[in-house]
């Protein structure tokens, strides 16, 4: 029998080892660029213009010269190949429809008669609104889940704790994913877009789902094995659901890995984000949520906070 519960602080430490660098990356990114991650135009406003079948690759200066005629000074071309044809993705601040034709005409003079693959243009207001409404929705969902779990676990002592621990584990997974995004943003300039937001929502839903399965077993064993100490009940429950946790994890892993390997380039970042989040979701159910119940049961919470750094306090009470 594996002793999961005895090593709980080791697991918390492992979580911190992943989360803290991510938080540091977020802070560094924030101080350098004024935003926590590299945000795509979905959030900041701007234009991505992808064209293909061009006669040659333009230089940054050539593109800037064209764009600045219309008051846009931050255009950056990024060469790419689509289905074997040369193309370029030009990122810039917002290209208004009034000037698009004119820039297109200038680009045609420079690059020949290209084909437009994608033109995405967003004003700055929308992205902030989308992420704000997503945030409120997640907060409301968390409260609803907290209430539901308190109700569903009403037959065991301290039902409220289960909901709180499930939410903390969920926040853990969100932090892992956000931190990873910030690190990738710093290292490779990976941008966070609306698809990333979708991946995050998926992870949030999965995280709670996965935690509840383990909690349910604890609920059942608390009633069946009344005489065992709480630690042992939790440990038994983790062991009994381990096969299921691993198998469900494998099933999701198979699907996502196949999508990452063979799926289109447009969804690769999205799929990788989900992979990280789902892994973290399973980890946090076993090694955080369930262990936190034990910590709480022993009244180690005060002790627990004392062991952690000041920043971590914000995390767990967030």
């Amino acid at each position: 029998m594996i002793d999961f519960v005895g090593k709980r602080y080791l697991y918390f430490l492992l979580s911190l080892l992943i989360i803290v660098p991510g938080l540091v990356a977020i802070i560094i990114h924030w101080s350098q660029f004024g935003e926590p991650f590299s945000l795509a135009i979905d959030f900041t406003g701007g234009t991505n213009w992808e064209i293909v079948d061009i006669s040659r690759q333009p230089t940054t200066d050539e593109i800037r010269a064209i764009y600045s005629k219309y008051g846009i000074r931050d255009a950056v071309p990024q060469p790419e190949t689509l289905e074997g044809k040369p193309g370029v993705l030009i990122r810039s601040s917002e290209v208004r429809p009034e000037v698009k034709d004119q820039i297109a005409a200038d680009l045609r003079q420079l690059l020949g008669n290209f084909t437009e693959v994608r033109f995405e243009s967003a004003g700055p207001a929308i992205g902030a609104e989308v992420s704000q409404s997503a945030l409120i929705a997640v907060a409301m969902a968390s409260i609803a889940i907290l209430l539901y779990l308190t109700y569903a676990f009403r037959k065991v002592p301290h039902p409220f704790r289960y909901g709180v621990c499930a939410i903390i584990a969920m926040i853990h997974d969100v932090l892992v994913v956000l931190g990873t995004a910030a690190i990738f943003g710093l290292l490779f300039g990976e941008q966070v877009d609306v698809l990333f937001l979708t991946a995050l929502l998926t992870i949030i839903a999965f995280s709670v789902h996965d935690t509840i399965v383990v909690f349910d077993r604890i609920r059942e064993n608390l009633i069946r094995l009344r005489l065992l100490p709480f630690d042992d009940v939790v440990n038994h429950s983790i062991m009994q659901t381990l096969d299921r946790s691993i198998n469900t994890q494998l099933v999701v892993l198979f699907t996502l890995t196949s999508l990452a390997l063979f799926g289109g380039i447009t969804i690769r970042q999205f799929v990788l984000t989900m992979l990280i989040g789902i892994l973290s979701g399973t980890y946090s159910s076993i090694f955080n949520a369930s262990q936190l119940l034990v910590v709480w049961e022993h009244g180690e919470v005060g002790n627990f906070f004392r062991r952690l750094t000041g920043r971590q306090r914000e995390v767990t009470t967030a």
Binding site: M1, L82, P97, E98, D101, Q102, A104, A105, E116, V117, R118, E120, S121, A122, G123, I126, E129, V130, A134, I136, A137, V138, M140, A141, A144, I145, L149, V194, L195, T198, A199, L201, T202, I204, A205, V208, H209, I212, V213, D216, R224, L228, Q240, D243, R244, N247, T248, V251, F254, T255, T257, S258, L259, L261, F262, G263, G264, T266, I267, M274
Partner: protein, 495 residues
């Protein structure tokens, strides 16, 4: 019990056949007067097309009447229909936005100009000097004395820069024109476009160029007649969204209520202009907030790749389930196939009374994958419990039933929490303009509900049926070897 199992099985097979038929085919179904096209509706991110979010462009603090935005939507709908786009989608979002989605459109830039322009046509008193074509001017704007409809547009008196054609009125020369107002004079609006009864493209017999012939209605005949009678020899400019289209001189009084607008437009431009005039101007100016145009190749490419990738993933999952759980695994794979059929049938024909179909987007596919995982998870939970019961020495029939009974609370609670999340996300996504969130939530929600049905009810019926027709097969088929797979030393002794 036995009879109920057979009835359930028959119903499941019937459902599987109907949904399988609907899921795998694209056809139009007619039952009496009920006609329905059955097909998967792909979002623009998957099939390519143009999506534009228009926002009311009014000064802060101005309230927008529900009627105004609805009238604007109707007018945009009419203009879009005149463009001949297949399956356009025009929706009011919130209280000040309109989303226009045009799948597979060939010329997105032209389309934006046609449906997005305010379309405010003004006949302007230019006095003694003609105005230059393409020039942007300031006008006094619509007022009760120069309009024909009862309602006067509440547009601001200053010229609102709209997304109306700027340079494109004369794109033949391809010269860029500045939008800046160089002419500071404010011209008097004599009559607005809502006095137009009809507008159509005709060809000038001498120059063979397209021009727009119009007839006036109501007050318009009198307003136009009076003005042209009093101002013979002067110039009467015609401006669309504050931009001068042409500036003819008044040669003689026009009292018959019909005339032509001449200008240097191409045939498609003349057609677009006629479309805008025919359906009137928008009651409020709209500004483009976001534009997304996905070329058809990019969308198709990502769909094809994702389908192949998804198929490989599902195949591996099926293989895993069969190898690990043996007979129940096979049954779970069949149940999951039925799951796929039902889910896709709902995507195609919707749920009567709730929605007509589900538009499948990339976030939607993410929701589907998660719900697939949840459905498989349901089966895994049940089968693991069954194995536990078998290892503890319960008879097969009892083990199957208690496997389901014991797994049910965790399936129920985890699924309900996922349903709560998706319901809140769906509500927020559809009300607060985050269509990405809504697209994810709707497929997740459908998937979780159907997954509950297939992983619990369908699999259970299958297992009961197998138990009934083959009661004596080896426990090996249920994933428990003749010798225990491994010592469950940690298993708590039952109470």
């Amino acid at each position: 019990m036995r009879q109920r199992t057979f009835i359930s099985l028959a119903l499941i097979i019937l459902l599987a056949i109907v949904c399988g038929w609907l899921a795998l085919s694209n056809r139009t179904i007619s039952i009496g007067s009920f006609t329905r096209e059955v097909k998967v509706h792909l979002g623009l991110d998957l099939q390519g097309g143009l999506r534009v979010l228009l926002q009311a462009d009014v000064p802060p603090g101005t309230t927008i009447e529900r009627d105004q935005i609805n009238v604007a939507k109707t007018i945009i709908e009419k203009r879009v229909n005149a463009l001949g786009v297949v399956e356009p989608l025009i929706q009011v979002q919130g209280n000040n936005r309109i989303v226009v989605e045009l799948p597979g459109i060939e010329n997105p830039d032209e389309a934006i100009k046609v449906f997005g322009g305010t379309g405010l046509l003004e006949f302007v008193d230019a006095g003694n000097t003609p105005l230059t074509e393409g020039e942007t001017i300031a006008t006094t704007g619509p007022s009760p004395s120069n309009s024909c409809s009862g309602v006067v547009a509440q547009s601001s008196p200053t010229p609102t820069p709209t997304i109306a054609p700027s340079s494109t009125i004369s794109p033949t020369n391809g010269i860029t024109q500045t939008n800046a107002i160089t002419n500071t004079q404010v011209y008097t609006t004599v009559m607005t476009g809502d006095c137009l009864e009809t507008a159509s493209v005709v060809f000038n017999q001498s120059t063979n160029r397209p021009e727009i012939s119009f007839t006036l209605k109501g007050n318009g005949v009198k307003i136009f007649g009076d003005h042209t009678t009093a101002n013979v020899g002067k110039y009467l400019a015609i401006a669309l969204d504050k931009q001068v289209i042409s500036s003819p001189s008044i040669n003689s009084p026009i009292t018959t209520g019909s005339g032509v607008i001449q200008g240097s437009f191409t045939v498609p431009e003349a057609n677009n202009l006629a479309v805008q005039l025919k359906f009137g101007s928008l009651p409020i100016p709209l500004r483009i907030e976001t534009t997304t145009n996905i070329g058809p190749t990019l969308g198709q490419d990502s769909v094809n790749r994702s389908i192949i990738a998804g198929a490989i993933g599902v195949f591996i999952v099926a293989l895993f389930m069969i190898l690990y759980y043996r007979l129940p695994g096979v049954l779970a794979v069949i149940a999951l196939t039925i799951y796929g059929f039902i889910v896709f049938t709902i995507y195609k024909i919707g749920v009567p009374g709730l929605f007509d179909f589900v538009t499948l987007t990339l976030p939607g596919i993410a929701g589907f994958i998660l719900s697939l995982g949840v459905a498989v998870d349901g089966n895994i939970l049940i089968f693991e419990r069954m194995k536990e019961e078998l290892r503890e020495g319960r008879p097969l029939a009892l083990a199957i039933e208690s496997g389901f009974d014991r797994a049910w609370p965790s399936i129920r609670d985890s699924n309900i929490s996922t349903l709560i999340t998706s319901a809140i996300l769906l509500w927020f996504g559809s009300n607060f303009g985050a269509s990405v969130v809504a697209g994810f939530a709707i497929t997740l929600m459908i998937g979780v509900v159907i997954g509950l049905f297939t992983s619990v009810f369908v699999t259970r019926t299958f297992l009961r049926f197998i138990l009934d027709v083959m009661p004596n097969i080896s426990l090996w088929w249920y994933g428990v070897g003749s010798t225990p797979r491994r010592e469950k030393s940690y298993a708590p002794t039952a109470e």
